[in-house]
Amino acid sequence: MSIFHRNDGFVHPVPSEITPQRVYEERRMLLRGLATGAAGATLAAWAGRSALATAEHPGKLAALPGVASKVLGAVSMEKATSYEDATSYNNFYEFGTDKSDPARNANTLKTDPWSVSVEGLVKKPGKFSLDELLKLSAQEDRIYRLRCVEGWSMVIPWVGYSLVELIKRVEPLGGAKYVEFVTLADKVTMPGVNSRVLEWPYVEGLRLDEAMHPLTLLTFGMYGEVLPKQNGAPVRIVVPWKYGFKSAKSLVKIRFTDKEPATAWNKAAAQEYGFYSNVNPEVDHPRWSQATERRIGEGGLFAKRRKTLMFNGYEAQVGQLYAGMDLKKNF
């Protein structure tokens, strides 16, 4: 075998072989972030637009336009899941345990009038009407990956703003360490609340720093329109780096506490659903692997499963929140 060859210096591997996909995708993210800082929002909006173009506007509900987000990682470049799939395949146990139940049953939900009370360890507690909340900060377009603990995923264009905008407004006291989200539990309009599958109301929670992370979204819409009822209308939380059940729907109360909130799934099965529930391919659910996921709408029956990413691909943005923590113990 000859070591030297006259083609030396001309034969290169293709760049995609040198750079792992995740790294160059993050570079793109970084570039977009730089664009925000240096060249202003114009370039960032342009970069975001290419991804937004893949999201359809279904024309089913009232429009809720958003502006381009300047938050790092806020706009995934992946192809958005179809509106049809995102609104017909849902876990929303208040309307039934089958994935098709929410789309069938949620029409009874009354979203007007609606208000969210903010209480607990804050300087300015209060009750916010939906209208006040909608206007509290500029609505932004965010395209997030959504990973369900059951092993499937979607890409959804949400509309909302960082929860931290609201948190700043109510001024948490020094003792506030956690934020608890209480959701609606109405036996009349939510048939599932009569079942004993979970303890109602459905309660979720975040550590204060998680809640204040700019990616944590107070969400009012998706696909450029207000939230469909089966997706948690009229206002919900979306935490893209955690399993989907952490993102509480149809919020009625936000409470600031000094103790870790007792969350719905954690109460139901503590050894299976931890408080953190960060997406983590290395920490399996006790009963199934979390290493891979099925992307909904991708190639039908014969589609290959995808590898699940650490923190659902948001490690660059949120990894530092968990520095020094044993993620196997704090699952």
Binding site: S195, V197, R287, W288, I296, L301
Partner: protein, 220 residues
């Protein structure tokens, strides 16, 4: 009713009816009508139909005795074979669409999810019964041994419910498990009750019950 059951076309018609769920699923899979997560929908539907046919086949004997329609016994073997058929399709679609035929993945998955082992075990028992379902097999095995083998359908019922229960346990969703569990439990309970009744009858009138069961055996 009896005439209808004994009609020459009864079996072929029933055969086609039993195939309808499969035909629908096959069509829906091909036409992309299985919703957002087709693999999951297909695997779960096939599992549901396995359970339903298991209920049907185990209902044949109680119905036959309670309503006094011996003609029903003609269909028992066919229903049993359909249980095995849907179970096999269920297993095969799991291997193909969930595990992508990856043997190491399947091994890991079984270690992770014991309900899959339980389901597979039920599948093996069903395959054994299906493989020995023809008349010659009864002769070869001998009636007693054949009967004992085919009584493992009761084990299959228990394994199937355990499989379903464990699968739903992750999400605390037991409503349907309870329905199937209640149906299967009452069908098996009836058999226990019936056996005890026969035993009591046998004690007061010796010989009678034995002759009866021998006659049933011969009819096969």
């Amino acid at each position: 009713m009896k005439k209808l059951l004994m009609h020459r076309a009864a079996k072929p018609v029933l055969f086609i009816v039993c195939l309808l769920p499969f035909a629908w699923l096959f069509y829906a899979a091909a036409a992309d009508q299985l919703g957002a997560n087709p693999a999951e929908a297909l695997i779960r539907s096939l599992g549901d139909w396995t359970l339903r046919f298991l209920c049907i086949v185990l209902a044949v004997t109680p119905l036959r005795v309670m309503t006094g329609t011996p003609a029903l016994a003609r269909f028992r073997r066919m229903f049993g074979l359909f249980v095995a058929f849907y179970a096999l399709m269920h297993l095969l679609s799991y291997v193909a669409f969930d595990m992508e035929f990856d043997a190491t993945e399947i091994a890991k998955d079984i270690a992770k999810r014991p309900f899959i082992l339980v389901g597979s075990l039920a599948g093996v028992l069903l395959a054994l019964m299906a493989a020995t379902s023809f008349n010659r097999a009864i002769k070869t095995l001998g009636a007693v041994r054949w009967r004992r083998l085919h009584q493992s359908v009761y084990v299959v019922a228990a394994l199937a419910i355990l499989h379903f229960y464990w699968m739903r346990a992750g999400k605390h969703n037991f409503a349907e498990v309870a329905v199937y569990g209640a149906i299967l439990a009452s069908l098996l309970g009836w058999r226990v009750w019936e056996a005890q009744r026969k035993l009591r009858l046998g004690a007061t009138r010796p010989g009678r019950a034995k002759v009866g069961s021998a006659a049933i055996l011969q009819k096969r």
